[in-house]
């Protein structure tokens, strides 16, 4: 059974230390709910596990199936069986969804899929996720609504069949129907034996996917490891009790702008020289 194990992980973003010694384990077959206030490092942890270059691991270790994950590029981490459903999936200009999915599936397969196999799997995955098959002809995530992007993340998880999936607020921006579809897909992968590390702010998703354990990330460390009763406690009481019961002061979120967005004028589109060498 594959196990993802994180030891004393320290991670900095733009020189600022966000994770300050995270210890955590997730095995295939279990679903770990990762809780914690905004800005305390949940997304940072998931991004660092997958190898986002914007997140620098300054010390600590991540092991998966006996492999040193930190020595692997993100595509090799994917092929090793890790998957990250992102909070803000990128819109990729010029990249056709079906072409991309085929390349990703082939990267994971021992030998390239036949066109017939590929289309069969693609079509049934689109159907299962309630996404019109026509969308496979569009560029990856380009012009997709928030909910469509999230379902598209689950579509990719379904096609790539990871051993451990990291889900970063997969339920944000979903309506009730889409939430049901996403929860069902997670359930299917749980039955297959996949392990999950799930970040969400809402008990609603957790009620649907039935985690096996819960952990709370405070001030860049795992402050509490426990059972699923933690989910209800946080849902009803927030995080104040951490301070009163455990004596851990909860640092205020530093509200840096998370995403810089630029919008072009009418039809003119410019990508300027960024001054790279």
């Amino acid at each position: 059974m594959s196990k993802l194990s994180i030891k004393n992980l320290h991670v900095a973003v733009k020189g600022k230390e966000i994770l300050r010694g995270v210890d955590l384990e997730v095995s295939e077959g279990e679903t770990l709910a990762l809780l914690g206030p905004n800005g305390h490092g949940k997304s940072t942890l998931l991004a660092a596990i997958m190898g986002n270059p914007a997140y620098q691991v300054t010390s600590g270790a991540i092991m998966f199936d006996g492999q040193d994950v930190l020595a692997l590029s993100p595509d090799k981490r994917s092929k090793a069986g890790l998957f990250l459903a992102m909070q803000y999936p990128s819109e990729i200009p010029g990249l056709n969804s079906a072409d991309f999915l085929k390349a990703a599936m082939n990267a994971h397969a021992d030998k390239p899929l036949s066109l017939f196999q590929f289309y069969n799997r693609l079509q049934s995955a689109y159907e299962a996720m309630g996404i019109p098959f026509e969308m496979s002809k569009r560029n990856l995530n380009e012009g997709f609504s928030g909910g469509e992007k999230k379902r598209n993340e689950m579509l990719q998880m379904k096609l790539l069949q990871p051993k451990i999936a990291l889900l970063d607020e997969i339920d944000s921006g979903l309506d009730v129907d889409a939430m049901g579809i996403v929860a069902k897909e997670i359930g299917d992968e749980q039955v297959r034996g996949a392990g999950f590390l799930v970040v969400s702010h809402y008990a609603r998703l957790y009620n649907m996917i039935k985690p096996t354990r819960a952990a709370i990330l405070i001030n860049g460390r795992v402050a509490v490891n426990g059972g699923v009763d933690l989910i209800q406690k946080v849902d009803s009481q927030g995080y104040e009790w951490i301070k009163t019961e455990l004596g851990i002061p909860v640092e205020k979120e530093n509200d840096d702008a998370m995403n810089s967005v630029s919008i072009g004028a009418c039809a003119t589109r410019v990508a300027v020289n960024h001054g790279g060498k």
């Binding site: 390349a103 003119t268 001054g275």
Partner: protein, 235 residues
């Protein structure tokens, strides 16, 4: 639409004249096929299309050039049409500008200007041009598509198609996209097992490959195919 009585194809490979004036007579069609693999000088092509005439143009430009390519298509007669497709790669120190314009002078004319490009290295790629519908040119359709993907931080791209519309009863649209493949994009793709080289390959093929089908000559098709592959693999 009446059947075209005469159809003619003009093909230039590398030896593209600096100026070219073409006339498409009534009820005929003209196909202009351009392909370039060697450096080009400034080029200006004017096309006049008479009533019921059809101009079709395709340009596969893999030339290492610093130049401006100008195309003006004058739809002088009613029910005349223009169907233009460009696929271009700019690399290294290339500086390529394409001004592709169509002027709808009469009613029920049809104009499509479609330009796709990839900017790599330290190159600059500009897609511009005007689609103008003159007063009285009722029931015309015009569309400009300008799409550029920029692969390298030192490369730049600009797409600024302009629509000028002097008549109400028309359909006009434009789509302009300049996308830069950023570190965040690459991380997203790599996190699914697709490495950087494969991602660039998929995008390049998606943008440039469709031009091949517009060339009837299979040897030229092969040469274009090799140039696309070369543009993907050279670095």
């Amino acid at each position: 639409m009446a059947e075209n009585e005469v159809s003619k194809t003009l093909t230039y490979v590398d030896e593209i004249p600096a100026t070219l004036t073409l006339k498409v007579p009534t009820q005929t069609s003209l196909k202009l096929c351009l392909a370039a693999f060697k450096p080009l000088q400034n080029t200006k092509i004017d096309v006049e299309v008479a009533e019921g005439g059809a101009f079709e143009g395709a340009f596969a430009d893999f030339s290492p050039s610093q130049y401006t390519f100008t195309l003006n298509v004058y739809l002088k007669g009613s029910r005349s049409s223009c169907d233009w497709h460009l696929a271009a790669i700019a690399d290294k120190k290339d500086n390529k500008r394409y001004d592709t314009s169509v002027y709808h002078e009469k009613e029920e004319s049809l104009g499509l200007m479609s330009n796709y490009g990839i900017a790599e290295g330290g190159s600059k790629l500009v897609f511009a041009g005007i689609s103008e519908i003159e007063k009285g040119a009722r029931k015309t359709h015009t569309r400009q598509v300008a799409k550029i993907i920029v692969f390298d931080p030192k490369a730049s791209g600009q797409a600024s198609p302009i629509l000028k519309i002097g008549e109400n009863d028309v359909e006009a649209s434009h789509a302009a996209v300049v996308g830069r493949l950023s570190e965040e994009h690459l991380f997203y793709l790599e996190s699914r097992g697709v490495d950087e080289a494969m991602a660039k390959r998929l995008i390049t093929l998606g943008y440039l490959k469709p031009i091949e089908q517009r060339f009837a000559d299979s040897k030229l098709q092969t040469k274009i195919d090799e140039a696309i592959e070369g543009g993907i693999t050279h670095d």
